[in-house]
């Protein structure tokens, strides 16, 4: 199959002719822009991209990308994407989903796609509310959330999406924020480069039904005070003037003030490649993600480990057996035990 010449692609090449219909001020615009900026930099021909989505505001994403796209049904995008990737390993397959789509109706597909390590990239836009159905609480809404469906406050505990991903055995888990453009782009590039399932939670503001859900993190002061920007091999330091750090007591994380004899050397050095996922799980657990707790919100890559991908495993078996067991369709149809009736009506075992 021919591919396009290697003329450099630009952001414009990835903009479709469809009018973008998210609400003005929606965080999805920023994420769309980030993806349209990152894709041309990946060195992949445009026709090789496939974006698959489910249902919800975020899932309108494929219509606005000038790539192959599939707006599927509620929660099922990972399943559709798995079918594509298993049969077309040459394609670069991305899933765009939301907190309701991925963690409520589609929870089963998300965890199984991650545990299999299917080589697809999953972007979960987490706005902690159902937007397209006009404002019900979601599986990531905080306890006590008052919405149309929980007028007296929700009484069920939310998921932490990162912990779902880590617990499912995801080989790449990261988090960024819709409006943190440079950070978001760098996380998307890391996800794109990962071989295997890459799970990225993007904190996304719904200015209609859950405005300012992440304001403590995203406002000017919060970005430094409440954001912990993980970097592999670097100590866990944060705060306005990098004056705080996280150390690991052996059982828990602890915030320490730097200075007065304490330095970055006392902080844990982040290891995204740690074989045991429990440290990443514990890191994900320090904050609910809104920046309102005692701990900062971990951002960046929590986990990135190498593991064989499911699709490659499936295809390797097929390739190996195709070579090892050549058989014609005729042989398959005949099977092992046949008998033949000749024109005279007599019968003998075997084929003609």
């Amino acid at each position: 199959m021919p591919t396009t010449e290697a003329t450099p692609l630009t952001r414009k090449d990835f903009q479709s002719d469809q009018e973008v219909r998210w609400c003005p001020g929606c965080g999805d615009y920023a994420i769309l822009s980030a993806v349209q900026q990152v894709f041309p930099e990946l060195g992949i021909p445009r026709e090789k991209f496939v974006i698959v989505s489910g249902i919800g505001c975020s899932s309108r994403f494929p219509y606005y990308m000038n790539t192959y796209g599939f707006h599927s049904i509620h929660g099922r995008a990972p399943a559709v994407a798995t079918g594509i990737k298993m049969t077309r390993p040459d394609l670069d397959v991305w899933v765009v989903t939301g907190d309701g789509d991925a963690l409520s109706i589609g929870g089963n597909h998300l965890i199984h796609t991650l545990r299999r390590n299917v080589n697809v990239k999953i972007l979960l836009f987490n706005n902690r509310v159902y937007g397209l159905t006009k404002g019900q609480y979601s599986p990531t809404s905080e306890l006590g959330k008052r919405t149309k469906s929980t007028p007296h406050g929700s009484v069920d505990f939310p998921f932490n999406p990162l912990n779902i991903a880590i617990g499912s055995g995801a080989t790449f888990v990261a988090r960024s924020v819709d409006i943190f453009m440079p950070h978001l782009k760098s996380v998307l590039k890391r996800a794109a480069a990962h071989k295997g399932s890459a799970f990225v939670e993007v904190m996304q503001n719904c200015n209609i039904y859950n405005d300012k859900a992440f304001a403590a993190l995203t406002d000017k002061a919060g970005r430094q005070q409440n954001g912990l920007y993980l970097e592999h091999g670097k100590p866990l330091v944060f705060g306005d003037n990098q004056d705080k750090g996280l150390r690991f007591t052996g059982t828990d994380f602890e915030v320490i003030d730097l200075g007065n004899g304490r330095s970055a050397d006392d902080c844990l050095v982040w290891d995204e490649k740690h074989a045991n996922p429990s440290l990443a799980f514990q890191m994900a657990s320090i904050s609910t993600g809104d920046g309102l707790g005692d701990f900062p919100v971990p951002l960046g890559v929590l986990r990135a480990v190498d593991a064989p991908t499911y699709d490659a495993g499936v295809i390797d078996q097929i390739d190996e057996l195709t070579t090892a067991r050549p058989q014609t369709l005729d042989q398959l149809i005949h099977g092992t035990d046949t008998w033949t009736v000749d024109a005279g009506g007599s019968v003998h075992r075997g084929a003609n």
Binding site: S16, Q18, E47, V80, I84, R88, P326, I333
Partner: protein, 621 residues
């Protein structure tokens, strides 16, 4: 037929009699290996050249409590020297490995039929478990039958006295003692089963040899004792010249899908979730990776169908296979395929229901589900296989329609033909339909929802093709451009267009053919797995001098274009169905014709005689 009790006798030997047709039922505990025993007898008879038909009947529980009625597993096989259509209404021979097997199957046995029982199992404890108040072997209750009492377990242990196997393993060979006896009784060779055992247990030769020894012991026991006065033979059937194999419906379906993949040039992708009685299709296709087949045991039924849709989007032949409860879960996925107009084959191996129902028993009650069990106007072509071997041809037809019309297609089979076997005349590969598919390549003027004028199919443009980047999805599409569109006129147009696309299939599928008088008083119309019983019944009715016609539907949506005319030519139309009249409902609605339903929903197929009696009543005999 009734087995004769006398025959040609040589001095000192059992009399020999040739019979044209015999029905044997093997029955025992679910752990007694009855399915395997029956299958071996079937395969050996196939290799001799008999026509045959089988009816496995097993419980949903893997190992129900030993010795109880719910734990009984049975396998019925009919072999004949002529063309047969059903596994037989009543067994001539019943092999009962324990009291429960006897009790559960005795009522079906023909008068004067042969019963072989394992006396070792007729203990007070087992009799009680089976609900016997007195021992039927001693109380004259079996006087209407020819009872042969054999200590199968004792004889098996004796035959294996020198074997190193433990007692438990030895006892597990006792079904082969029974098989050896039945092989002798019906003059079958042992070699095919010996060959099979040695391949099957090539890594455990001691198991293979123990079974061979026990089977031979069973044979020899009959040969040297006077256990049976008469020995029978069933000669080869006069089948059309050609090469044959015995095949199960699910196996024919799996092989048919591989054949369709080869003939279309599309790699086959099966997304499936384990479910009775469809799992064997997954199992079998999982062994065909060397044909480029991808099988995906998904996390659930929904993922199974959605992965198949994804595979089709990428240019593979997407297939999903399930049974009624799973099909219900797939409904939304099937509707997505309707909307995005991608090829997809959904195989529904029907079972008893509703809900979990009777997982291992047969029924034809998903017809309305696959026709209408989705939201809104959701036209999907539906075709049905009518016999085990017909599953092969039906698979090819499903793929042909799916790819030519860019639509999901439902293929209906059921537990009866899925697990039943019959001889199949193996086709030449070159005779199979040419299903080659061309993906759209030309970017000039490309629109994802532009259409073929004849079929109304949209182009299949797969990712990776430069210049054809486009988006599809479940939202309503604007005709031609495929853009999201909510306009009232467009929606009305698209709803009608999707319906018209499926309706146009009627232009090319074969007209339905009537066997017997082309018009008259009574037409028996069937679909799917009732073909055998209906054919057998109508043939017998003709032999009895009755005037009746029959016809059988493979295409259920759309119907063959002449179906209305055919119905009009008959005063009465009888539709036997293993449901409460689902095809009849469709026919009445479509053709405003009074249809008489003959329902049976016992989890068992119609017998020939049941349909024959109904024909006799209606034809005034």
């Amino acid at each position: 037929m009734t087995l004769p009790i006398a025959g040609q006798t040589d001095a000192g030997k059992a009399a020999e009699a040739t019979v044209s047709d015999v029905v044997i039922r093997f029955a025992g505990d679910s752990g007694d290996g009855m399915q395997l025993t029956g299958t071996q007898f079937t395969n050996t008879s196939a290799l001799i050249g008999n026509d045959l038909s089988t009816l496995p009947d097993f419980p949903a529980e893997i190992r129900a409590p030993a010795g109880t009625l719910p734990g009984v597993s049975a396998f019925q096989v009919r072999i004949a020297d002529h063309d047969i259509h059903t596994p037989g209404d009543a067994p001539d021979v019943l092999v009962a490995m324990n009291p429960a097997a006897l009790k559960a199957n005795l009522r079906d046995l023909r008068d004067n039929g042969v019963i072989i029982v394992n006396t070792d199992e007729f203990t007070p404890r087992n009799l009680k478990r089976a609900g016997y108040e007195s021992n039927p072997l001693e109380d004259d209750s079996l006087n209407a039958f020819r009872l042969y009492q054999v200590a199968l377990t004792t004889m098996t242990r004796r035959a294996l006295e020198e074997s190193e196997l433990d007692v438990r393993s030895k006892d597990r060979c006792k079904n082969f003692l029974a098989l050896g006896m039945i092989y002798w009784l019906f003059s079958r060779p042992l070699e095919p089963t010996i060959d099979w055992l040695r391949v099957k247990f090539r890594r455990r030769p001691e198991i293979a040899e123990a079974n061979v020894k026990v089977m031979k012991a069973g044979w020899n026991f009959c040969d040297i004792t006077d256990a049976f006065q008469v020995r029978y033979d069933v000669e080869p059937a006069k089948l059309e010249p050609g090469t044959y194999r015995s095949i199960h419906g699910n196996s024919a379906l799996a092989i048919g899908l591989v054949a369709a993949s080869r003939r279309s040039g599309l790699p086959l992708f099966l997304g499936a979730y384990p479910i009775t009685p469809a799992s064997d299709v997954l199992h079998e296709l999982a062994t065909y990776k060397h044909f480029g087949v991808t099988t995906y045991q998904a996390e659930d039924e929904i993922a199974a169908v959605c992965s198949a849709i994804g595979a089709s989007f990428g240019g593979a032949l997407g297939v999903s296979c399930s049974s009624g409860p799973g099909i219900a879960l797939k409904a939304e996925g099937i509707n997505l395929a309707v909307m995005v107009e991608l090829p997809l084959v959904i195989c529904d191996i029907q079972r008893g229901g509703p809900s979990t129902g009777l997982p291992t028993k047969t029924e034809q009650a998903d017809l309305l589900q696959v026709m209408f069990g989705r939201n809104n106007e959701s036209p999907v072509p539906v075709i049905a296989a009518s016999s085990p071997a017909d599953c092969f041809d039906t698979a090819l037809e499903a793929v042909r329609l799916a790819t030519k019309y860019m639509t999901p297609v439902v293929l209906l089979s059921d537990g009866y033909i899925a697990n039943g076997a019959e001889p199949w005349r193996i086709p030449e590969v070159e005779e199979l339909p040419d299903l080659r598919v061309e993906f759209h390549q030309d970017a000039e003027g490309f629109m994802p929802y532009m259409r073929n004028e004849a079929t109304l199919a949209r182009p299949w443009a797969i990712p990776g093709t430069p210049g054809l980047e486009h988006r599809i999805g479940g939202l309503e599409k604007e005709d031609v451009t495929g853009n999201v569109n909510y306009e009232p006129e467009n929606h009305d147009h698209m709803v009608r267009l999707r319906a018209e696309k499926v309706a146009r299939i009627a232009n090319e599928i074969p007209e339905i053919e009537v066997e017997g008088p082309q018009s008259g008083e009574l037409l028996v119309l069937g679909w799917g797995s009732t073909l055998g019983a209906i054919t057998g019944a109508v043939n017998q009715a003709w032999a009895d001098g009755l005037t009746v016609s029959r016809a059988h539907l493979k295409h259920l949506n759309p119907f063959p274009r002449n179906l209305g005319d055919v119905l009009d030519r008959f005063e009465r139309v009888l539709v036997p169905e293993m449901n409460l009249g689902q095809l009849a409902l469709l026919l009445r609605a479509r053709y405003l014709k009074d249809i008489e339903t003959y329902s049976k929903v016992e989890g068992k197929p119609f017998t020939r005689d049941e349909i024959l009696h109904r024909i006799q009543q209606m034809a005034g005999a």
